[in-house]
């Protein structure tokens, strides 16, 4: 098979798979499921976007990404709870206050998780660039430490995440239930996507980072301090993990110390499905995972956990470098 026919075949299969549930689900339910799937996919993309930078672009198998996700959730939780307790910004119906609390929580989360990422990269990841097995081991150790620190600071139990009042509930658009919070998540996800595309493809920093991934020595010869750029990328990826954690916590309205580990597998699957280093691939992969998960969970609840794995195996068999991966 030539490359073109293979690609066409893949697109065809994807579309057919996404429409197949229509055979046994009535259209209105199908639409509701699709909206929920898109929202879930966007939330997954928020988690996976950071991993795209760290694993996809820099080729670091960062298993601590899940722990950073949890940290983001808990930092946002603390900010939201304390602000709500003092000013009632979440429980009041004021749209401005609701958005402000979300914004402040997001800012704090990004700052803390990016700082943690900076620390991680400097202390434990830098010595093991290029050694996959040791990256896995070191970051597994870091995961244990970070999660235990969460248990020490915030306690080991589940806690209820306050969600701003305006973002709760749903709209009813032509009999299709549209939850409000996922719409915010979709907006934020698109914003993150556009921002990443812009920085990576249109700015000097993005150029240096991409060139540094291709040929680090050459970029260093040109006089750029590459290790500083890589630290920056790692910190940015960690910050995005925090954003994903906070959004997920608001979506599920709870925070748990181990919540990151479960999302990590999703994120890895998405990055691999999309193709390493491709931001667009991650977005498409995340939406595919979100949609297929929702359809299968509706039709065959028991098979829902396996469907993402099956999707990954299928895509890798057809395209060993992922959907948008460069054929290296």
């Amino acid at each position: 098979m030539t490359q073109v026919t293979k690609t066409r075949l893949l697109v065809l299969i994807t579309v057919a798979l996404l429409l197949a549930p229509l055979l046994s689900i009535e259209p209105r339910t199908y639409l509701t499921l699709s909206v929920a799937g898109l929202a879930m996919g966007m939330l997954i993309f928020l988690v996976a976007s950071g991993l795209t930078l760290i694993f996809g672009l820099m080729d670091v198998l960062n298993f601590a990404h899940g722990a950073l996700f949890s940290w983001g959730a808990f930092v946002g939780f603390s900010i939201a709870v304390s602000l709500d307790r003092r000013f009632h910004w979440a429980t009041s119906g004021s749209v401005g206050a609701n958005l402000l609390i979300l914004l402040l929580a997001l800012t704090a989360t990004v700052l803390v998780t990016a700082a943690l990422g900076l620390l991680l990269e400097r202390v434990i990841v830098r010595p093991v660039y290029g050694q996959h097995l040791f990256q896995i081991l070191i970051t597994l150790g870091a995961t244990i430490v970070l999660e235990e620190l969460i248990r020490i600071v915030w306690g080991p139990n589940d806690q209820v995440m306050p969600v701003p009042l305006t973002l709760q509930g749903s709209w009813d658009v032509a009999d299709v239930v549209v939850l409000r919070f996922p719409v915010v998540a979709i907006g934020l996800g698109l914003l993150v996507y556009a921002g990443m595309r812009l920085v990576l493809n249109r700015t000097r920093v993005g150029l240096i980072v991409r060139a540094g991934v291709e040929n680090g020595e050459m970029v260093q010869v040109m006089g750029h301090n590459l290790s500083r750029y890589f630290t920056g990328v790692f910190a940015a990826g960690s910050g995005l993990a925090g954003v994903g954690g906070l959004m997920w916590a608001m979506f599920s309205q709870s925070v748990r110390p181990a919540m990151g580990g479960e999302q990590l597998v999703f994120a890895f699957i998405v990055v691999i499905i999309g193709g390493l280093g491709s931001v667009t691939g991650s977005l498409v992969g995340a939406l595919l995972v979100g949609l297929s998960y929702n359809y299968v969970a509706f039709l065959l609840p028991k098979a829902a956990i396996g469907v993402n794995m099956a999707l990954m195996v299928l895509i890798l068999l057809l395209r060993p470098t992922g959907l948008f991966g460069a054929g290296k």
Binding site: Q131, L137, T143, V145, L317, P320
Partner: protein, 372 residues
Amino acid sequence: MTPSGPTPVQAAREAARRGRLRQPTAWLRLGILAAFALVPLVAPSFKVTDLALKIALFATLAASYDVVIGYTGIVSFGHAMYFGIGAYAVALALGKLGGVTYGHLGLGFLAGILVSAAVAALIGAFSLRVKAIFFAMITLAFAEFALILAVQWTPLTGGEDGLSPRLPGVFAVSWAGGQFLGVPLGARSVTYYAVLAACLALFLVMSRFVHSPLGRTLQAIRDNELRAEALGYRTFVFQLAASSFGSVVATVVGGLYAVWVRYVNPESTLGVPIMLDVLLMVIIGGLGTLYGGIVGAAVLLTARTLLPDLRALGAALAPGSEILQRLADRWLLYFGVLFILVVFFFPKGVLGTLREARSRPASEPARPPIRT
């Protein structure tokens, strides 16, 4: 070259073979084996015997993983799945076929080995050609699938509750017991020695495997795949053989585990925690050392068994000390820090570091390179 005399390589090998028993490591291995053999005779409680045999079992499992990851350089996250396949095959053959005989036991092992070999060959044929990290994720996917299957297919596997097979003949709890050289033996002891002997046999087979010409080729592929390919080896076939071999050994260990524990459930035989344990054992012992798994398994399992006792001891020594209690509750934190330090400063594991210290100046690469 003279056709009659041995080549220099053969001569060196002969010399090494003759000097084998003069090496301290050979005696060390025999000593460890003797210690394992003595445990049921001197152990104060069943807990100790159980711990000893589990160390032997997991050491063998870790060694089989080492054949795949340390000797061939294939990073697989699905190794625990084969362990689970073996355990379930034996448990199912003894529990679901109506009879409990030695034949059923053998059938269970055979079925497990066949299924594992087929699954390993299939996964390998599909995915060994893709990038190494993708192979890791695909094997993880299959392992996850196996776990889901075991949990969901309740009529066959018993779901979360698992299976408790009865064992035939001398392994059965109901066996009256007998005497061997004047020492009374119960079913537990017989099972212990049978499983230990099987572990020993597996270790010998694996040792033979990695030191055979095939094993040498695998190490060549691990160190430099392109070069091995340029020398005319079909690396794919060799990698397939190595991963299938490791999987089959893991299956047999799984079956032995089912025989010893007499209980199989998804949590204890399949799934990611077991996989991580085995990975940790191999890393603690040392990649590419085969026997390192014994050290890794001993450290990890002993620590896990003793930890609740230690915490109870701490509580008894300093009652009411809340800080001590809270620190003890977060023991995992210290384990994490310790683990990071060990990976940093002893990347070759206990056995690898010792071997390096003995054979200085080392001409080998600093770390066994992993295919990336």
